[in-house]
């Protein structure tokens, strides 16, 4: 297993007065796609948000590339090279696709070459370049959300349930995009409920329950073990979500 | 017995109880403890504004509804009485016609405001009430023929409530505590100081009016205390904490909020009526002014939002400060050069500057207000005492 680019140790986090995370230990290997699995309410989204600095950390440490980023303000964490695609996609619906992308290019004007690559991955974005992002379909919005995260080279991508509510054809396109990212050695921490999608892309996996990580290891270990899946996720391979 | 009167809502702080008793005694025996017109008029104002501020606390402290239209309802009550005695003479009948008309108008307007809050979110509501109150003020100021415009109206209160009426033939004795103490300090002889402190009180209709006001003020306060500790009051507090959850629990929050606004408005109107009868003169500045609205806000917050006792303490403290702080500042600059920066900053006209500063600082550092802070200290003292007892309670094991 590769070296960890991101590590969480004993992380506790609150949202308002609710304790959501009760000591999360997680190692995310560099250059791989790690899937974070678990039932609803296990704390997966909160873990991503906590890494990003969007929740109140009450204990533990978050380290990125060896540097302690616990409790730092969100913009600073983002600038260190972490991109976040939230569950609700977080696109600015009143802005055009172009404006969304311009904003995402934090370090200057849009890189033509990279933009072409993004258009290759997600053609609708080029087609609806000057239209308000709110007018896009669900799948197109998801493409935009991911495109924003990759328009500038980032070392770590945090993605929260990208396939939620999408048609299989689009899920396929997304999988293709993630494959390309893997080839580029981008580290991805992916929260997913769709086990097939996870199995296809994931190299490492971790399972959460009740605000903590209860299992972590290689994806193949989990994928080949029906009993383990039942125990951790309450389903078997091939079962519909 | 106290439990029923106070509806189970105790001061919960010895210091606060002492303060309230002090204020209560001063108000109850006021005309016989503090000589002079200025003191008498201030006592009346404190009683009137306790009603105003307590009813405002119902909205602000217990339901977190910010409204800037409270002075509007106060003014409706005051002008109602003023206009009806102007039109129908100085009998009690005219007074009650005025009260009736004012209350009806207040109910209608507060209903409108309550319904408006349906359409707009809370933060809009505050601004909308500000605009509506301003429109009302402008209307009153403009309709010179009916309301006397900026000159205002003199209130022809009934003879029995005025200075000419004498219910008692002889006068009653009064004893000025302040004069007694200053006499003691100055001269040292108890007998002499005692004699200086005694003064004559010629009981008139004005005293009658004062005690009517005092009684109503006390009654309204206890009524509000009962209301906020009733099921209705608990729903208001639930709305304050989390309206969405209150709705999810099945409460039609719009009804409750509107009810709070209406009750608050009617009580303010009542206070306006008393103000008109006591002050015997109403004009836009002393009833509808935005500055007055800010004062009400100040009194409520400084006293302590959401406590009702805060209204009593805040009103007393504020009105005393308003009256006597200016004297204090005047003393401070009496030796300073006129026109110098010090004189400008600390002059008696600038009392509002310092009060405003104190207000802002208190919002940051003492957001609970005087009452809230006293209760907090009392609670901490109780906790420290509980820690010292040998038998540890089972709750203490969790940390």
């Amino acid at each position: 297993m590769a070296e960890s680019i991101l590590s969480l140790s004993g992380v506790r986090a609150d949202i308002d007065q609710y304790h959501i995370l009760h000591g999360v230990d997680l190692e995310v290997p560099a250059g791989e796609l790690t899937v974070l699995l678990g039932r609803n309410g296990a704390g997966k989204s909160t873990t991503l948000r906590t890494i990003m600095g969007l929740t109140t950390i009450t204990g533990g440490k978050v380290r990125f590339r060896g540097e302690d980023i616990t409790g730092q303000p969100t913009p600073r964490i983002a600038r260190k090279g972490i991109a976040f695609v939230p569950e609700d996609m977080g696109i600015f619906s009143l802005l055009t696709v172009r404006e969304n992308m311009v904003l995402a290019a934090v370090n200057g004007p849009l890189d033509r070459a990279r933009l072409d690559w993004v258009f290759d991955l997600f053609p609708p974005l080029k087609k609806f370049w000057d239209r308000p992002a709110g007018n896009l379909s669900g799948g197109q919005k998801q493409m935009l959300a991911i495109a924003r995260a990759i328009i500038e080279p980032r070392e770590l991508l945090l993605v929260d349930e990208p396939t939620k509510g999408l048609a299989p054809a689009i899920i396929n396109d997304l999988a293709g995009a993630f494959e390309q990212l893997k080839q580029q050695q981008v580290t991805v921490l992916l929260v997913e409920q769709n086990f097939n999608f996870s199995r296809r892309l994931g190299q490492s996996a971790a399972v959460m329950n009740d605000g903590g990580v209860v299992w972590s290891g290689q994806m193949t270990e989990l994928a080949d073990n029906d009993d383990l899946q039942h125990e951790l996720l309450g389903l078997g391979l091939g079962e519909h979500q | 017995m106290f439990n029923r009167i106070l509806s189970g809502d105790y001061p919960r702080s010895r210091a606060l109880s002492a303060l309230l008793v002090l204020i209560g005694v001063c108000l109850a025996l006021g005309p016989f403890l503090f000589p002079g017109v200025r003191a008498f008029s201030m006592l009346g104002m404190i009683c009137v504004f306790i009603i105003v501020v307590a009813s405002y606390d119902l909205m602000l402290g217990y339901t977190h509804i910010v409204s800037f239209a409270h002075t509007m309802f106060f003014g409706i009550g005051a002008y109602g009485v003023a206009m009806s005695t102007d039109a129908f003479g100085s009998g009690f009948g005219a007074v009650f016609i005025g009260i009736g008309g004012a209350v009806v108008m207040s109910i209608l307007l507060s209903l409108l405001l309550g319904l408006l809050s349906l359409r707009v979110k809370a933060i809009f509501f505050a601004l909308v009430t500000l605009a509506v109150a301003f429109a009302f003020l402008s209307l009153v100021t403009q309709l010179y023929n009916i309301t006397g415009g900026e000159d205002g109206l003199a209130v022809r209160s009934p003879r029995e409530l005025g200075p000419a009426f004498r219910p008692l033939d002889s006068s009653l004795p009064g004893f000025s505590v302040v004069d007694f103490i200053t006499g003691l300090v100055g001269q040292g002889s108890i007998g002499q100081a005692f004699n200086d402190a005694v003064f004559e009180v010629r009981v008139s209709g004005r005293h009658l009016m004062y005690y009517i006001t005092f009684a109503i003020s006390l009654g309204v306060f206890l009524f509000l205390l009962r209301m906020v500790n009733s099921p209705f009051g608990r729903v208001l507090q639930a709305i304050r904490e989390n309206e969405f959850r209150a709705q999810a629990l099945g409460y039609r929050t719009v009804f409750y909020r509107t009810a709070a606004v209406i009750v608050s408005a009617v009580l303010a109107t009542l206070a306006g009526v008393l103000f008109a009868l006591i002050n015997r003169y109403v004009n836009p500045e002393n009833t509808l002014n935005f500055e007055l609205m800010v004062f009400i806000l100040l009194m409520c917050v400084i006293g302590g939002m959401g406590t009702l006792y805060g209204a009593v303490v805040g009103t007393a403290v504020f009105l005393l400060a308003q009256n006597y702080l200016q004297d204090l500042l005047g003393l401070l600059v009496s030796n300073a050069e006129p026109g110098s920066l010090f004189a400008e900053l600390a002059g008696p006209d600038r009392w509002l500057l310092w009060f405003g500063l104190l207000f802002v600082l208190s919002v940051y550092f003492f957001p609970a207000g005087i009452v809230g802070q006293l209760r907090l200290w009392a609670e901490r003292r109780r906790e420290r005492k509980a820690d010292k007892t040998p038998a540890a309670s089972p709750l203490k094991q969790e940390s």
Partner: protein
């Protein structure tokens, strides 16, 4: 690929006059209301008075727009309710007036060029003073109470009192007359030859106010629509959190917007000072009512809504002020209540409140 290539929200245009009218009323309520108001007013007075009042109303609208634009952006972007905004207006008026009075020799010359040597520093000083106060105010007073609307109301009301009292300390408690610069007094006469409106006198200052207001509206719209900062502001109005996730320090943007808004308020105050030619510390309070009506009417966070709202408020003030002066304030507030009933979010809503 084409199956999921469609965009949502592409309706066919309505057919028929009635349907198009209803669509116009729905899609462009601001223009609809504006035309309606102007038409009704025209029916109630003779055309010459109408022209005069409309120009005056537009002038007032332009100045109120300056004052209100800062507040709507602050509220829309930062979700901060600053009730001390009126005090910034007053401060700008006093600062500008001071410079103007100090340079009164230049101001009293008939030449416009020489006047500008007094006007521009006055306006500039008003901008700078109000902006600086905005900076201090945001850091000191507002920052500790982000997210708490109740506390914001309380501290900004208190702050407003303090600022106005300080104005009294510095400039004294009395009202101060502000003579208008010489070249801006008087009026242009429309040529007699024009039908209906020939010979009408258009006050110079009012025309200048309208031009300035339009210019600043144009500038603000350009910034918001075309520059990166504008994109950032519009994004921030939608979601502060996501802007931070992208890596932008939105707190700095907040500060910038607040300072700009305060500066504009000061500018509006200074312009109002030369319009009314007299200033008091509490003028900001009275103007705040108009500002509040404008931002609620127009829709929070929307510059376009603010502009149209200000124009509507200016016009209704002048029209009703002529027809029934005692009801001018009531009519303005009544307009707000009426629009709220029709459109609870305002005419051109940007954010969901």
């Amino acid at each position: 690929m084409s199956a999921h290539d469609e965009m949502i929200g592409q309706a066919t245009p309505p057919q028929g006059v009635l349907a198009r009218f209803a669509a116009f009323r729905e899609n462009k309520p601001h223009i609809f209301l504006l035309l309606l108001m102007m038409a009704v007013a025209l029916l109630m007075m003779d055309p010459r008075t109408w022209v005069l009042l409309t120009i005056s109303g537009l002038a007032m609208g332009a100045m109120v727009f300056l004052m209100a634009s800062g507040m709507t952006l602050t509220f829309g972007l930062m979700n901060v309710l600053n009730l001390a905004h009126g005090a910034f207006i007053s401060l700008g008026a006093f600062a500008g007036a001071s410079v103007l009075l100090w340079l009164s020799s230049q101001a009293s010359e008939p030449s416009l060029l020489i006047n500008l040597a007094a006007i521009l520093p006055a306006l500039g000083f008003a901008l700078v003073v109000a902006g600086l106060l905005g900076l201090v105010f945001e850091r000191l007073v507002i920052k500790p109470v982000y997210g708490d609307h109740l506390k914001q109301i309380l501290v900004t009301v208190g702050g407003s009192i303090i600022i106005m009292e300080l104005i009294h300390v510095v400039w004294g408690p009395n009202e101060i007359p502000v003579p208008r610069p010489e070249a801006l007094t008087g009026a242009f006469l429309l040529p007699d030859a024009l039908p209906v409106i020939g010979g009408v006198a258009l006050e110079k200052y009012r025309l200048i106010a309208v031009v300035l207001g339009l210019a600043i509206y144009g500038l603000m719209t350009w910034i918001i629509e075309r520059t990166r900062v504008g994109i950032l502001i519009r994004a921030g109005v939608e979601s502060r959190e996501m802007v931070e996730v992208q890596g932008y320090r939105i707190r700095l943007l907040f500060l910038g917007v607040f300072v700009a808004g305060s500066a504009l308020a000061g500018l509006g105050g200074a312009m109002w000072a030369m319009y009314r030619e007299i200033i008091t510390a509490h003028m900001g309070d009275e103007l705040m009512i108009s500002v509040i009506v404008v931002i609620i009417l127009g829709g929070l966070g929307s510059i376009k809504g603010c502009f149209y709202g200000a124009v509507l408020v200016g016009l209704i003030n002048l029209y009703v002020g002529y027809l029934e002066p005692r009801l001018a304030a009531v009519a303005t507030v009544g307009l707000m209540v009426g629009v709220l009933m029709w459109r609870p979010q305002g005419l051109i809503p940007v954010i969901k409140v």
